[in-house]
Symmetry: C3
């Protein structure tokens, strides 16, 4: 498939271009995000002080904003970094961790979407539905728990915000409002380790550093983590979730184009 | 033994109920705490901004306060979250990391104990003795370095604060002032990895999410970590403390009721 | 070689004296720093609130300042801790992570070097060159990309600041301005894991806790991490960078004097 071949090539490009990915992210999974970006071939940098984020993002190939442990101080930094990224043409990826759990999260994610032009929004169905609903959804949020509902919400949000929307779950949905891709890679064990969503977002950020097509970047990052989940589980033996988490980084550090070509499970549709 | 059977059942309940455990904790071991809670079957959430902790704890089945890297901002959040937890009937577990090392830690832990009703206080002997002494101990603190001294201090503090006090060490002591349990699980290697105390506290928080009997919750959490230490060491081979730490999560993710029944080393006494 | 024997002895001393190493460090690699210090035999403590750093550093055998995720609040704490360490005669090790990337980092590192007497400054060539240039370098910075240039810069900075300067890279250079050591241990894989520089700095801090000769402490810490990199890679098999990172801690936790004597690759020169 043509798209798979492009995704496989992008993996090679990350290794040669080593894009710098500026993160303002949570302190729970930050080490995993840094190591997964390094494993893919990128170069992570974490910087969250308002006094330096504008300069740092100016050096970067992509900006990842992750609200997992947001606070008043880092929220200010996210806006400063996001706006500067927009000025500089640096793609911005938002992970609205926990949107829906508290007003602070829902409102911060919503404001970021309004005030910062995103390249990619990546969340789980609950988070994305919350943001969709908070904007005055055109269809009932509660009725959209299934995968087809996910697609409709994602497409509508992608068109409204002119960004790529990715909803990850058993089947991942990625759309820019014109093209939609469904990824069937992954393993349920991924939900028993903290930070696998964050890592997927960081990988998306990394791929955004080597292509202007954010739809392809989102597909590539999410598929890479799905493939890692499959391979890590396959080699787990007697291991548990601790070993599984370490193996995710192992697999990404050894991932090659042929793994994407052979293992990638992608279905694409128009619209 | 009857208590062991109850603890074994509680393990099953965590897996079925998946209690949400809200943490305000340190940035050193936070990833380990999140992953060990997930491994047990619970659902961790880390949130420390004063603007959201009250809402977040309202969704939770337990609140874990850990002062390992406390600061002015997160201290305020701990009080806000703790008081709201009390209003909502959400059990609060306190880990007074480093109490005794600095006045900030000793005083913060002391104030938390005064202003927030705790379900469980878990620390090492040095930390608990500090808090005991800071309250105007009725017996000399320096003379109580042994296990029987630990028991006396724990019982007195448990009665005064009407909470469970757990002192972990070579032998762990857990008491609610009426019942006292001594746990002989664990391994010395646990002291060569950072965060094993924090992880024990997080597991206690997780069990607090499925029972109103905080004494049993403390026993279950501390015993689970002790069993993990034993099994991780037994399978270590040529590995070192890095592998040991990952294995702790592995073992917890595979822990079953029969492991508790077969491996749990518990002695109980009245008073 | 005489120096190697001293370094090997220092390893034994860390295990017997268990020096307390106070860190004010970044939240990306803080867990690795804590675990590598524990693995070596030291005792790490992380504390960054301005309200307690002066007391904490008073209990410590060394202070590590790492600006990896500096912010306004922790910068204040670094100066407070550094100054108190100077008053108390506690050796201070600075890791100027990312100096050169943003003015905030360059200026903070520069101010720390002016206002706090350092025992050791450890960075990569880019960071140290930035600090050298920011001070009004006596030779062109751009012309000093090679190892001999590294030596000249390190010696000049060491003499000016009367501290040990260590520049880590393919070959590590350590100097106090009179003696210079070149270390040829290590493995390229170390650059594909986040925090290996931070861990080296933490190990240096740990060794500073058992000797007044900061030159030897810097050699010992940097060589230990280099040896860990070699051994971790040698045993990696099918593993990737995730396993490699865990193995670094494993190796350090099993490192013995004979490993230093047999494996240490050190060349020393005067001046």
């Amino acid at each position: 498939m043509e798209t798979l071949q492009t995704l496989a090539q992008m993996l090679t490009e990350v290794k040669s271009k080593k894009p710098l990915v500026h993160h303002i992210t949570n302190y729970v999974t930050v080490n995993d995000c840094a190591n997964i970006v390094l494993a893919l071939g990128g170069s992570p940098v974490m910087a969250d002080d308002e006094g330096e984020v504008a300069e740092m993002v100016g050096l970067a190939s992509a900006l990842v904003l992750n609200i997992g442990t947001l606070n008043e101080r880092t929220i200010r930094s996210m806006f400063a970094a996001g706006k500067r990224a927009n000025e500089k043409g640096v793609p911005v990826v938002l992970d609205p961790v926990g949107a829906g759990a508290t007003p602070l999260r829902t409102e911060t994610a919503g404001r970021l979407m309004k005030e910062v032009k995103l390249a990619v929004l990546r969340g789980n169905l609950s988070e994305i539905k919350t943001l969709y609903g908070a904007e005055g959804a055109t269809r009932g949020v509660d009725s959209t728990a299934d995968a087809s509902g996910a697609r409709e919400i994602a497409v509508e949000m992608a068109r409204k915000h002119r960004c790529v929307v990715a909803i990850t779950g058993a089947q991942d949905v990625v759309t820019d409002g014109k093209r939609t891709g469904f990824i069937d890679n992954g393993h349920p064990l991924l939900s028993q380790v903290t930070g696998t969503g964050c890592m997927a977002t960081s990988l998306v950020g990394c791929f955004c550093g080597v292509t202007r097509d954010s739809y392809l970047a989102a597909l590539a990052g999410i598929m890479a983590l799905g493939l890692a989940g499959e391979k890590a589980q396959a080699g787990l033996g007697d291991g548990g979730t601790g070993t599984f988490r370490i193996s995710l980084v192992d697999v990404i550090s050894r991932l090659e184009s042929c793994d994407v070509l052979k293992g990638g499970k992608l279905t694409e549709k128009d619209g």
